[in-house]
C-alpha cells in the first residue's frame, strides 16, 4: 500500500500553500491567483491517493500550479484584456517595488517567464524546474539567464549579482 505513508492532505496543503500562492501571484498576478490556487490544490487532491510516498511533493504541486498558470496565460492570449494588468491594482507602487519586477517577468517570452517564476517566486532548483517544464536543466539555466539579461536592461536600479 504505497500511498499509506503520504501525509494527510491537509498537512501537505498547509506546508505548501504559501509557496504555491507566491508562485501564482508572480506568474499571473493576484487577481487570477485565487482561482488558480484552488484549481491547483483540487487537482492535487484528486491525484493524491495514487501518488507514491517518495514523491517530491513540493516539486509536484508547483508543477500543477505551473500548468494552471499556463492555462491562464493561454486564455489571455486568446482574449487579451483591453487594459494592462498593472492598472487593476492602483494601490501597488508604480515604481520599482517587487510587484513591478513580476509585471516585467510576465511580459517576457513564456519559457523565460516560467523559469524565473519557478526559480525566484517558488524557489525550485534548476533540476526541479527542468522536470516541471519537461526540458533539460541546461535549457532552464539558459532561459533564466536570458530572462535576467532582459530584466537587467529594463531595471537599471536592480544591481547584478554574479
Amino acid at each position: 500500500m504505497p500511498a499509506a505513508r503520504l501525509p494527510p492532505f491537509q498537512r501537505f496543503l498547509d506546508t505548501h500553500r504559501d509557496d504555491v500562492l507566491r508562485f501564482l501571484i508572480a506568474s499571473i498576478g493576484r487577481h487570477d491567483a485565487d482561482d488558480a490556487f484552488q484549481e491547483t490544490f483540487l487537482a492535487a487532491l484528486r491525484a493524491y491517493p495514487r501518488l507514491t510516498p517518495d514523491s517530491n511533493l513540493r516539486g509536484w504541486v508547483l508543477t500543477i500550479a505551473h500548468r494552471k498558470a499556463l492555462d491562464v496565460h493561454r486564455a489571455r492570449r486568446r482574449n487579451p484584456l483591453p487594459v494592462p494588468d498593472i492598472q487593476e491594482r492602483p494601490a501597488q507602487p508604480a515604481g520599482d517595488g517587487p510587484a513591478d519586477h513580476w509585471e516585467r517577468v510576465r511580459a517576457l517570452p513564456p519559457r523565460q517567464r516560467e523559469v524565473l517564476t519557478l526559480r525566484y517566486a517558488a524557489d525550485l532548483t534548476h533540476a526541479e524546474i527542468a522536470r516541471a517544464l519537461g526540458c533539460s536543466e541546461e535549457a532552464a539555466r539558459r532561459a533564466a539567464a536570458d530572462g535576467l539579461k532582459t530584466l537587467r536592461k529594463e531595471l537599471r536600479d536592480v544591481p547584478a549579482t554574479p
Partner: protein, 207 residues
Amino acid sequence: MSLPPPDLLPGEAAALAARTTARAADEGIAQIVYARVDSPVGRLVAVATPRGLARIAYELENGGLDSILDDVALKLSPAIVEAPARLDPVRRELEEYFEGRREDFDVALDWSLTTGFRRRVLQQCARIPFGATSTYKEMAIAAGSPRAFRAAGGALGSNPIPIIVPCHRVLATGGGLGGYTGGLERKRQLLSIEDVTSTGGRRLRRS
C-alpha cells in the same frame, strides 16, 4: 540580480486554503473530512467519510491531531481535509448530549476503522441504551463468543467512535468500572451525565 518573491498579505494563503478545502468537501473531492470539537471531556477530533462518522478521538490521549490523522491516512486514505462545516451535525449532537438534551445519536456511522470480532462487539455495544450499562461478558455473549470476554474488553478499548458508540456503558462483570479508552475519569464523567452514579456490583439503570 535577485527577484524577491511577491509578498503575501497576512492570513491570505490560510483563507484561500480554507475556501479550497470547503469546496473539496462540498464537491466530494475529499474522501475524508475532519474537525476539532470542544467538549466538557476535552477536545475531540471528529473524522467522517461519505458514509458517516468514522472516528471520534480524544485529542490528547491519542498523541494529538497529527498522530490521529496519520492513523486515519494509513488505514483509510490520505485524501483528508479539515472541513468544520461538514462536521456540524456531529458537533451539535454532542453538544446536546453533554447538555443533557439528547439520549440517542442520529448521525450515520462508518465502521470501516474496525473489523471482524471487534466490529461485532462494538455494534452490540452501540445498542446499549442511554442510562443503562452492560458487562464485558454480556458483550462477548452478544457478539457470539461467550468465552471471549477479555477480547471483548480489547474490542471496546479499541473503539474508534467513543461517546457515540457508548463503550463507557460497559463495566466489569464483578461491578468494577473496568477500563476506558479516554481514561477512567472520563468514563465516570460520561456515566454521571447519564445518571449512572456508582458501580456497586449490579447493573445500574436510570429510573
